[in-house]
Symmetry: C2
């Protein structure tokens, strides 16, 4: 499998997980949290999936396509290790879906960052909320969910927030 093949499979898995997550949170009120804007493609997909929901976006430094930059009041600029701590008063328990893609190309660095972020993300999620994630997590507060049809295990991840 070439890198082009694996890249396409990863994007297809990401999109399928976001689409399924949208169904899974259909009965939950709450906001959507995009953890990492990047080029803005998944933010744009989230906008199309959730036209009625509030979507906040965390990003260190905006470098997205101009069409995919969130309005300033929905943008939480800075290092997520700091901004997510500070966001607890605003968002604690109010998030219905969080999406975390810390893909920097450095797998070890991604895992380390994801591990640092998880304890900051968990308290933001309401019970029953969904976390769609590139990194894998093993955590009592997160129950792994079955992936969409046709998506191989490990290609992307879906979790339900449960009581620890």
């Amino acid at each position: 499998m070439s890198r082009l093949d694996s890249f396409i499979r990863r994007l297809e898995a990401q999109r399928a997980c976001l689409d399924l997550a949208a169904e899974l949170i259909g009965d939950l009120d709450g906001l959507v949290l995009e953890l990492g804007l990047g080029n803005g493609r998944t933010y744009d997909h989230l906008r199309s999936l959730f036209p009625e929901r509030t979507i906040y976006v965390c990003e260190r430094r905006v470098a997205a396509h101009p069409d995919c930059v969130p309005p300033p009041e929905m943008l939480i600029l800075g290092d997520m290790r700091e901004t997510l701590s500070a966001a607890h008063d605003r968002f604690g328990g109010r998030v219905a879906l969080a999406h975390l893609d810390v893909g920097t190309g450095d797998a070890a660095a991604n895992r380390a960052l994801a591990g640092e972020l998880l304890p900051l993300i968990l308290p933001l999620l309401q019970p029953g909320a969904v976390l769609a994630s590139d990194p894998v997590f093993d955590c009592v507060g997160l129950m792994p969910l079955p992936l969409p049809n046709g998506i191989a295990p490990g290609r992307y991840h879906l979790y339900r927030r449960v009581n620890a």
Copy 2:
């Protein structure tokens, strides 16, 4: 359709066109020319499609994944407007497949560059050679080929080199 959707479709179209091009040149001898290395994903795909063929890669400045950097002797570094002119003595009429993806995100600049490159690419192609291309071309020396099944017109392009 979100930007994530359209990006996936574009990559799927690109891959399908390269796969079909590999079939189309099955009976032709000749080398493969990757015009633009970028992150190296399509180069890696070409390597997997053509393990027996010589693949040359033109790129201004290598910024690919380390696993996808061609050996130095297969890399033609510099502005393609200059290097392709200079390559004529080496490759003229010897290329069986060229792949051109000048995707810089700026559609007008891409079209302008593609227009400048086309007269330099054409003499490198042997009769019957295939050009897979992101930009569209309208040129008597290139006959548009049907796209692979399921790929919508205009999403990517395939041409056969014919006598003008």
